[in-house]
Subunit: 294 residues, 2 copies
């Protein structure tokens, strides 16, 4: 199977499952569920859940039993976007070509939709009783750590505090990106390593891959904000420059950022070489990141 | 031991442990941690964690191994207060006699402090590797369900939507209170039942207790908003009437609400009679609710 077909097939599996998850028969809660589903089902590349499933497959495992865990990762991603877009945060009106959650449902409901998606993700994870309970608890601990104050929430707080401050430097920028995004990619892959009984060498390979894959994603994300097409991206371009955000492009240069992305992609690819042919998708994913337009 | 001493001792155990939990050595995250600790360590009765510990003791178990689980419950409670107080929600400036989180740290950081506490709670729960993993996963699923969109978040969304609408009726009011507060009390007790290997009869008794105890709490809370003393409560009284909120006092009357609270307290007390002397605290707790001033 080629890369595009694989992405499409996995995204299809995830989207189908996501559609069935958040339902309520309590009329007083229906607006909240509408708001959660509005953002959760608004599309998106589904990279985090696909990473979990693809890494399991790279380890020679059947990914089918883990589809709900993958969906839980997407619920957390969706919550983070809703909260990031709020007026008190990045104040964005457009996401994936659609009005953001608070624009449609109001700020209060948008905050609650985020809270609801985040909490539901842990309910969904913990309910996977067909998975070995010790492994499941470990997965929840890893993922909550990555998404929590020491990870993604910390990164967003740092981002909020450093807006308009382009002097955070390379170290600051790397911390920002790693904690906002990279750590979640890494957690998705680590979950697969736990569930797929990866050996020590495999774990180490996947860890290195995760780090450089995340870096590739971030640098290319910063590049897209400068050279991307608003229609493909579904969000305004140039917003980083407008908001005086430190990015790989503003701190270095467009050319240098491109070079750094290529270098990170090479390191990611090399890391999973030992995993053999089954890991083809992980390698193709970083190549795709270098050429993606959205 | 008498009721007041027991509450004080348990609160002391919980407060000591809470103080040690949220620490960071990442300077860029320190403001977020400060904001989380500001609310988490601002006092409060610690009823939810005490309920978990006391129910375990009522079942004849040592509560010591479960102190971190109890703290996780308080982290979730603290997050819910931070988000409830936000301008887009109840817009409260004062909580427990201190300026609310967003007043001190700004709205963006307050939203993230809530997100951080919520996510951290699940990390802390999942990290309790000394607890049987299957029981732990069950506890996480129960608690996330209670705190999530089908429970507390749903209740808050309903509350937000029904502000200024006193016509939600008794049924609406009961749904509101049960989902905002009662379901969390019930979950704390259910967790203890799971961890303490409660038998079927014990489980049923505790379930009934939890329902009526939660109801007693809610009705007395509504009464306190009318007759309470601002200094003891640490928050303005009369805010329900000001916000046109449906409460047990506005829908019924002060006298009728008092009668209803007493009836609920009696039912709660009777439910745990079969648990014997060890369950003394659970019985005293509902008596205390009837006379509490804060």
């Amino acid at each position: 199977m080629n890369f595009a077909d694989y992405m499409k097939e996995q995204k299809g599996r995830i989207d189908s499952r996501l559609k069935t998850l958040l339902q309520t028969d309590v009329p007083q809660f229906s607006q909240l569920y509408k708001a959660m589903n509005y953002s959760l089902l608004a599309g998106g590349k589904r990279i985090r859940p696909i990473l979990l499933l693809a890494t399991l497959e790279a380890l020679g495992k059947d990914s089918e039993p883990y589809i709900d865990l993958a969906c839980a990762l997407e619920c957390v991603h969706s919550y983070s976007l809703i909260h990031d877009d709020l007026p008190a945060m990045d104040d964005d009106d457009l996401r994936r070509g659609k009005p953001t959650n608070h624009v449609v449902f109001g700020e209060g409901t948008a905050i609650l939709a985020g809270d609801g998606l985040l909490t539901y993700a842990f309910e969904l994870m913990a309910a996977q009783t067909h998975i070995d309970a010790a492994k499941l608890a470990r997965c929840i601990a890893i993922f909550a750590h990555a998404a929590g104050p020491a990870g993604m929430v910390g990164g967003q707080a740092f981002d909020l505090a450093s807006e308009g401050n382009t002097s955070i430097g390379r170290e600051g920028l790397e911390l920002l990106h790693y904690s906002k995004t990279g750590i979640i990619f890494k957690a998705a892959i680590e979950l697969a390593a736990v569930l797929g009984d990866a050996g020590e060498a495999q774990k180490k390979a996947l860890d290195t891959y995760a780090f450089y894959m995340g870096l590739t994603f971030q640098i290319t994300d910063d590049i897209l904000d400068v050279v991307g097409d608003e229609a493909s991206l579904g969000k305004p371009v140039g917003s980083d420059a407008k908001n005086d955000k430190a990015t790989y492009v503003t701190i270095f240069s467009l050319d240098e950022a491109r070079r750094m992305a290529e270098e990170a992609a090479e390191k990611a690819t090399a890391a999973v070489e030992p995993l053999g042919p089954k890991a083809w998708f992980l390698r193709d994913l970083v190549s795709y990141m270098l050429v993606r337009t959205k």
